[in-house]
């Protein structure tokens, strides 16, 4: 089984603070992390590799410093890593990102499964996985909580949807996007950490992927951000202080309506 996991370096959005006066994000000192969802995709891939044999290759498209998340993935147990990095990749939306990632998967060749996280916590789009599938013309199974079975030609997984769960069978090769319920990601091992320090990570740019400039980065992106604002904080709520009995009475008044039941 040859599995590719696409991972992304993201700012830890929990650490992002708002500059109330200017209404903008304060990015200073905000750490960059491996997108939390991608850890579950990586673990799911490694679990099946451990069972069936094969390799797990992690890829990311990003600036040179994005290499850090590849090394983190190696320390957790991935076999190899590739960094897709080129000034021309900057400003990519999900169309251009998935296009570039799909080209890398094609270049690797003979891949059975591509796994991505459900979504990245900065863009929150959840679009990259299905778009990679479209680029490769592979089937896709999104919002997967658990992979139940994999054999030579097919994969069976649980897909969580509104009101229930679908058991879906797909032929291979396939793109899978992974939810957080899937597993508990393992921690980096000592051996992994040593490997992560030493491993050479190839860097592929547009020439390696034979991509024209108008299909990558901002030029290849049909969407553009034109404005960024911070959500208004509405603070017209009523805050009650007092004895618990009084507070409980007030709350029930509002919950049921004064005369209500």
């Amino acid at each position: 089984m040859r599995i590719v996991v696409a991972v992304k370096q993201v700012p830890d959005t929990a650490e992002v603070r708002i500059d109330e006066e200017r209404g903008t994000l304060i990015r200073e000192g905000v750490p960059s992390i491996l997108n939390p969802f991608d850890e579950y995709a990586l673990e799911e891939a490694m679990k099946w590799r451990d069972e069936l044999g094969g390799t797990v290759t992690v890829i990311t498209m990003g600036p040179p410093q994005a290499e850090a998340v590849l090394r983190e993935a190696i320390s957790m147990g991935a076999d190899e890593a590739i960094l897709l990095s080129d000034r021309a990749f900057a400003g990519a939306d999900t169309w251009a990102t998935s296009h570039t990632l799909a080209k890398a998967v094609e270049k690797l060749g003979d891949i059975d499964i591509v796994m991505t996280g459900k979504q990245a916590i900065d863009g929150d789009t959840a679009q990259t996985g299905p778009s990679i599938a479209a680029s490769l013309d592979w089937p896709q199974v999104t919002f997967v909580g658990k992979v139940l079975e994999i054999d030579e030609n097919s994969i069976i997984s649980e897909r969580y949807v509104e009101g229930g769960c679908e058991i879906i069978k797909s032929s291979l090769p396939v793109v899978i996007t992974v939810l957080k319920d899937a597993n508990t990601p393992r921690l980096p091992s000592l051996r992994g950490k040593m490997k992560a320090r030493k491993i050479e990570i190839p860097v592929w740019g547009i020439e390696d992927l034979k991509l024209p400039e108008n299909e990558v980065g901002l030029d290849g992106s049909p969407t553009r951000v034109v404005k960024i604002t911070t959500p208004e904080t509405f603070s017209d709520g009523e805050i009650h202080h007092g004895e618990p009995e009084e507070l409980a009475r007030l709350m029930v008044d509002s919950l049921l309506g004064k005369e209500g039941r």
């Binding site: 089937p139 769960c165 034109v226 960024i228 029930v252």
Partner: protein
């Protein structure tokens, strides 16, 4: 290759672009804006500069005939023959957008058996219903649904295509937009028509709800967006409304799929989907221990509600993940949301802030939840909630 440039002659050194950059990539040097490698070419600074001194250049893009595209197409979502409420919301929103330029509204319904839904969809605002019926369309499957819809989009050339940001919409739309070489904006909470050029302004929360980004798709068509359920309002149905129903012809190849739904397991009873609940009683780290969720359950039962939780409570293993509300959990919009012992961190907030009424019980007066709740109660939840339960029971006697 795309690039960004600060025009030295025009930059006055006002510094307005520095805070506008969500990536902290701009600094001022000798009264001139300097852009570092952190820049992702997102364009936020370009619009913040009143002097037109920041310019993002893009390479050539193949021109398409924009004016051939018109109208708004809504992709309907159905399960077991029932059209989802989110589709009706999209028709309502499409109607509001169409008021600006008189666009026609169409809806695409792929289903096993439509029943009287086509007429109902017209009542809710569609001018044309494109309908395909086949037993193989009973369950959503990515490939047939995307193939049939792509062909229809190519034939009909809508300017805008909308679907709900449900697991179905978010599976289907990226595939279509990639194949049709056009843009897609995820999980929008606001749509508007740009008076300047008639383009669709698509606004959505990003960065864990810390910011709202407005996105356009100016050079390709259609403009595609998934829209968060329960944000837009459906119209009152009008039975007298007139519209057309057009059948989509299907061939066996249209229905081919490399994936197959072996089984659908509905959620167990008691394991109800919290996104459908009208009342949610939610607990966080302030609950201290798993057994204390029983207290919230008692309250939820009295109010016919469900149980939600913050990630802190999930991570502690007090309650399973399907109950998690927030950025990495579910987005809910109940009539009443009661947050007990939840601080109101932004990742939690983005999942529940559209609730009609938010109640918060927290003993820390400075907890952020008090900044956006409708009614806050400062005190110990272990004192207040049992009294609330008692009081409700008393009044109902």
């Amino acid at each position: 290759m795309a690039s960004i440039e600060v025009r030295k002659e025009t930059c006055v050194g006002c510094g307005a672009c520095v805070p506008a950059c969500p990536f902290g990539a701009i600094s001022m040097k000798d009264d001139l804006a300097v852009i570092s490698d952190e820049c992702t070419l997102c364009g936020a600074c370009e619009s913040s500069c009143s002097f037109g001194a920041i310019i993002i250049r893009t390479g050539e893009s193949g021109e398409i005939e924009m004016d051939q595209y018109s109208g708004i197409m809504v992709l309907a979502e159905q399960r077991d023959g029932m059209v989802d409420h989110s589709t009706l919301e999209l028709l309502g929103e499409a109607g509001r957008l169409a008021e600006v330029d008189g666009s026609k509204i169409s809806v695409v319904l792929l289903t096993e058996e439509a029943g009287d839904w086509p007429d109902k969809l017209i009542g809710y605002g569609a001018d044309t219903v494109y309908l395909a019926e086949d037993p193989q369309l009973k369950h959503f499957r990515t490939e047939p649904f995307s193939r049939i819809t792509e062909r229809l989009i190519i034939e009909q050339k809508p300017a805008v295509v909308l679907a709900a940001a449900t697991t179905t919409g978010r599976d289907l739309m990226p595939r279509i937009s990639k194949n049709l070489n056009t843009g897609l904006t995820a999980d929008c909470t606001e749509l508007a028509i740009d008076p300047a050029n008639g383009g669709l302004l698509q606004t959505r929360p990003a960065f864990g709800g810390n910011i709202l980004a407005t996105i356009v798709c100016s050079d390709t068509r259609p403009q595609m967006a998934t829209v968060r359920p329960r944000v837009m309002k459906a119209n009152e149905p009008d039975d007298a409304r007139k519209g057309k129903i057009e059948k989509i012809e299907l061939s066996p190849e249209d229905l081919a799929s490399r994936t197959e739904v072996l089984e659908f397991k509905p959620l167990d009873e008691g394991e109800i989907d919290i996104t459908e609940a009208e009342v949610i009683v939610s607990g966080g780290r302030g609950l201290k221990a798993p057994e204390n969720f029983a207290l919230l359950e008692e309250l939820a039962d009295l109010l016919d509600g469900s149980i939600g939780a913050s990630r802190a409570a999930i991570d502690a293993g007090w309650i399973p993940y399907p109950h998690q509300v927030g950025q990495t959990g579910k987005t809910v919009q109940p009539k009443t949301y009661i947050a007990c012992g939840i601080s109101g961190a932004v990742q939690h907030r983005v999942g529940m802030q559209s609730s009609d009424r938010i109640f918060a019980v927290n003993k820390d007066e400075s907890a952020p939840i008090f900044e956006f709740c409708d009614e806050g109660f400062v005190g110990d939840l272990f004192e207040i909630i049992p009294l609330v339960i008692k009081e409700i029971k008393r009044r109902r006697k």
